[in-house]
Structure formats: C-alpha cells, structure tokens
Symmetry: C2
Amino acid sequence: MKRARHATIYDIAAEAGVSIATVSRVLRGEPSVAPAKRERVENAIRLHNYRPSSAARKLAGTVTKTVGIVLPRLFNPYYAMLFTGAQEKAREMGYALSLFPWSSLDMESFDPALLLAERCLEGAVVYLEYLPPADKDRILHFLKRLKEFMNVAVIGCDLSEYGFPGIFINNAALALKIVRYLVSLGHERIALIGGSEEDTDPFRRDAGYLEGLREAQLPFTESYRVWGGDTPESGLLGLNGILDGLKPSFWPTAVIALNDLVALGCFSAAAAHGLSLPGDLSVIGCDNLVSAPYLAPPLTSVDLHQRRIGARAVEMVISGESGIEEAEWDIVVRGSCAPCPSRG
Amino acid sequence: MKRARHATIYDIAAEAGVSIATVSRVLRGEPSVAPAKRERVENAIRLHNYRPSSAARKLAGTVTKTVGIVLPRLFNPYYAMLFTGAQEKAREMGYALSLFPWSSLDMESFDPALLLAERCLEGAVVYLEYLPPADKDRILHFLKRLKEFMNVAVIGCDLSEYGFPGIFINNAALALKIVRYLVSLGHERIALIGGSEEDTDPFRRDAGYLEGLREAQLPFTESYRVWGGDTPESGLLGLNGILDGLKPSFWPTAVIALNDLVALGCFSAAAAHGLSLPGDLSVIGCDNLVSAPYLAPPLTSVDLHQRRIGARAVEMVISGESGIEEAEWDIVVRGSCAPCPSRG
DNA sequence: TTGTATAATGAAAGCGCTTTCAGAATCAGT
DNA sequence: ACTGATTCTGAAAGCGCTTTCATTATACAA
C-alpha cells in the first residue's frame, strides 16, 4: 500500500542516544529515568512525531489497555449513547475501546470469532437485551469462553446467575412504574407494544406490565399486548393492529411503547385513526432520545441514562469488578400522557 | 487480569505435527499445502478453537487488513449510518474497521495521535463536513501526514485540490435543488437554518441557496438565514429567532433545515407560533432518518444514501483509488412541504 | 534409470515493543 | 577510602505471527 516508514522506538533511541529500553521507560512514564535522558528522549519523540505501535505494544505487553464492546445496530441512537458513554469512560481511564458491531439483535450472527481474534483485549462489555432461549447455550458458552481470557460485563440483562457481572435494566420494575403512572392518570385500558415473545427474562417488561395490571385490578387483554421490533414501523403496525381489530369503545387509552422510535410509530397510527394525542390516547416511550422533547406532543419517555450505563460497564470491566448492578432510570414526564379521556 | 492462555500458532503446529510456517499458510489460505496436512492443521485449529492474534498479525504482516474511520458524534444517526455502511463493506472485503470517534464536530479535539498510534491501518476514511479556515492548516497537515502512511479518503467535503480523494456532498447543488423545489411550490420567502458561518466550502449549502434565490429573482433576506448546530434545539432556537424578530406578514413560508433533527426543532417552533404544517409553513430536512416518515407531517427530506457513501469510501481506501466523487442524493417528498399558502 | 522442473515444507529472521536481569554509576555511611 | 544500598541503564529474550530462502519430496520427461 504505502511505503513510508513510521519512526520506531529504535529511531528514537538512536536520536536520543539511549537504549530502546530507556525509551520504552519514558514512554510508559516510569520514574526511574534520569531527568536529562528523559528530556532527550522526549525531544526525540517530538521531533519525529513518534507514536508507539499499538500492535507491537499489545503483542509485547502484559497489559494492553484495550477493552471491547459488542453492540447491535449502532444506528439506533440508544446504542450509540451506550457506546459514547463507554468510550468516554475508557478514554478517561486511559484505555482504548474497540467496537464490535452485531448485525442483528437476534443472535443469529453472534460471531465470537471477532472478539476472540482480538487477543489483546483486557475485557469486553457485551450488550444483551435478554437471553433468547433458543440461543441460550450458545451465548452462554461464548461468554464463558470469553471470560477465560478477559474480564467481561454484560449490560442489558442479568446474567449473574451464570456468573457474569454487569448492569441490567429492570424492565419489569420500569413497566410496573409506568403502569402505575398511567393508572394514576385514570387509564384502565393500557397497551404494551414491542418486545419479543420469546423473552423470558424475569425482569422483562411484560412481568411488570402484568403485575401493574393485577395491582390495579385491571384485566389482561390479550389484544393489548403486541410484540414487535424496535422501529417506528413496528409501532405503527402494532398500534394499527390493535386499533383495527377492536371497535373504538375498546380501544386502549394508553400505550406503552418499547422505545421512543416505536412510540413515534404509535403517533402515526393514532393520527391515522383520528386519535388526538394525548387527549384520546396517551403514549409513553423509552430511551429519551434527543428528539423526544420535540415531538408533538413532546414524548414522555424514560431516561435509561445510557451513557452512564456504558461508562459504568467499562469501569467494571477494567477494574475487574464482579457484581451485578441495576441500572437507574427516570420517567421524564412531558406532554404525551394525559388523564384518561373517559374520566377526564 | 486473566491468566488463561490462548492457543498459539505453535500449539497448532505441534498438534498437527507441522511447522508454524505451514500453519500460517493454511491460515492465509495459501494453496501450496498438501491436502493431508491442511486437514490436520484445520482439525487442530478447530480442536483448540484457535484464532490468530490480530496484534501479532499486524506486527508481522505487510498487509493488516484493517482500515479506520474517523467520525464525529456517533449518536447522530447520520454518522452511525455512515459507519454502518463502511463496516459492511469492510467486512465484505475481508477487512476490519476500527472507529475513531471525535468528540466534537468543531475541530478542537482533532487528535491525530489516535489514528497514528494505530500503526497498522492500511487506510483511513475521515469525515469532514468542511474545512474550517481556522484549523485548515492543522487539518491539512494531519491529513497529509496520514497519507504518508496509508491510503486516505475524506468524505463530506471536496479536498481533491489538496490531493485527497474521497466523496463529497455537493451541498450547493442540493440546496439549489431544494430551493427550486420550494419555488416551484410557490414559496418566495425561504429560510435556511443551520450550518456554520465559517464554512467557506464552495459546495456549501449557502452557495446553492443564494443561487436558487437569484435564479428565482428572489431577494436575499438576511434574517432568513440563521446559523446553528445540528440538533433539534438549534432548529427550535433558529426558527424561533426568525419568527420572533419579524412581524407575521414577513414570516418565511418555507424553511430548509440543515438536517432532520433541526427540522424537528422547527416543527416545535412553528407549533409554538401557531403555525400549522405544512399549511402555513413548509419544512424540508436532510438525512432522511428512520423517523422522518413518522413525523407529523411526514418530513420531506433528502436521502444522502449515507450507507452507500460509507461503503464506497472504504472501498476507495482499500483499493487505493484516488478520484473524487460526488455523492448522489434524492429528495424524498413526503408531507411537510406544501404549496405556498399566500398563493394556494 | 537419470535429470530437471515443480511443489511442499521448515528454519530462521524479523515486525516494534515490554520486561527481566545483571552490570554500571551514584550515593550514603563509617 | 571502602562497603553496601540505591538508582540508572542497556543487552537480550521474548510476544505470536508472516515471509523469505534453502531444502526436501514429487513429478514428469527424456
């Protein structure tokens, strides 16, 4: 490709008239270098604009100062924020972060090879929404194997029972809180849109949703629960499905969307059915995207503090912590949820 | 950290009873290996679940099969799409892609060190919205230096006059086309929101905007041109500024937003001023985010085909092409632009 | 057969750095 | 001035792989 040669540690050593060992020492900030030599080395480095090769360092060194993060579909801003938080913290701790994107959320293409190939990782944080029963063994095996070589933290779900530390999102508690909130607004017909039917996580949204219903002595209406992806389209399709299948008097008065994108899709579906928000229908999203406050009506959402999660996760990985933590979140109330119309 | 040892090429060689050279050969798919031995090696690899160390490969190899991409603020889905496209293409071509995020679009924190440290990159694609006059020399110098070591392609702006290949977005043509579109709808008071005042790129939005105005024999109204960032907030502030500073009879009837996020902010500002969209005000965005079709009204936007740009850029970098290309784009008409009310 | 071109293989030399390890230099203390 | 402790420093041995290069095995022709 290109032939220009980078300056190497030898060039610097020669320039400064010392051995490469000494150069290496000042590079890593060891104190045991005579001030005079240190300065000469530093000058040489500056002169040549020298940067040590990360590959060589990783190969030679015992600590590589690099961690990895595996994330699905980066174009969902949610993951991007997770990444950003991780990135910032890693940098702050003097680490490099390399990203391993997954092509799909469903575990199909879960390719451990990538991570494993990066022999030089000191740790990895992997995102896992939940443990899909079908791929459970495969994923667990991979994670276990990974753990032989580096620290790992999983974010998203709680895999502590398998010995994996990390940060999980208590979606059940979250859903419960949301249901309560909606109930407090007088809603009795609450729909839940999005999520995978095969998600059997104890902390899954459904659990909290159901509990909330029970708690408020509300019946569970099968048709109010629709599964789906995490895109606006899913939201549109999902809510349309509900609305089209029921006579208006049975329409839900509130919907809990998997995330803000899904919520947006619900906005569309509602509009298409002549429902005005939040007068006729309340909707609450999740993720608190930057656009949430600007929607019409401003979307009530829940802030998962993704950045903080990402940051905390790399912190755990780097310092080798082994606990499991529950992510904090807040419902940020904006204008998309209103008192139930029938009682308003 | 962890002490488990990865299998090395020596382990495999021993297991298969061949030399490491042979293992290396089958690893890289060289044909000159006896089928019998090849199979033994492959079995050994499978047995040990062996993965070559990327660090070692990079150090030893002449080709590293890795390219980098430097992108600002990943949480704007626009960049995430660029990345995704790049990622996919890289993978398709058997390359690894490493991401170097920039903390801010303004070049403040443009830190070449990161890239340079990754000695093992065969190429890099760097995103540059435009060449900020203030940092021009610094950036150019960095790019030049980078080019001594690897192929580089810049996406975003046209730096071909400095010898850098890449893909640029002809924002001028884009803006011109948009203005024409808006003019064809009867609009005569068209605002342009977002962008940096110090952008002097010949292909910048303003150029096309001005030309479009001239072409339609429309005056340039200073207060219709507001600068700003690329967030919804910028859009809100920007349009509010315009609206608040002018009596309604001078309000623009159409606004061109820097991107969809800014457009969304404009939606808010319009609503706050009692303007209904698109009846009273047309707005057009850019980037065609996944949420665009779901806004109310569905946002007319321009599709930059970011994925394609990302893909093409890594392609250029990998195959060492040196041309400059103009990105294609399409206006995707949805519901946020309507005929001008005053003549409707 | 014998000779020669061809294919397959391994030994060994790096790639650029980190890290013992032992020797050199410096510094107290007596 | 001499010893032992302390601080610096460089030689050298890897880290796990790729890549010559020379060697050996195999093929085919004469």
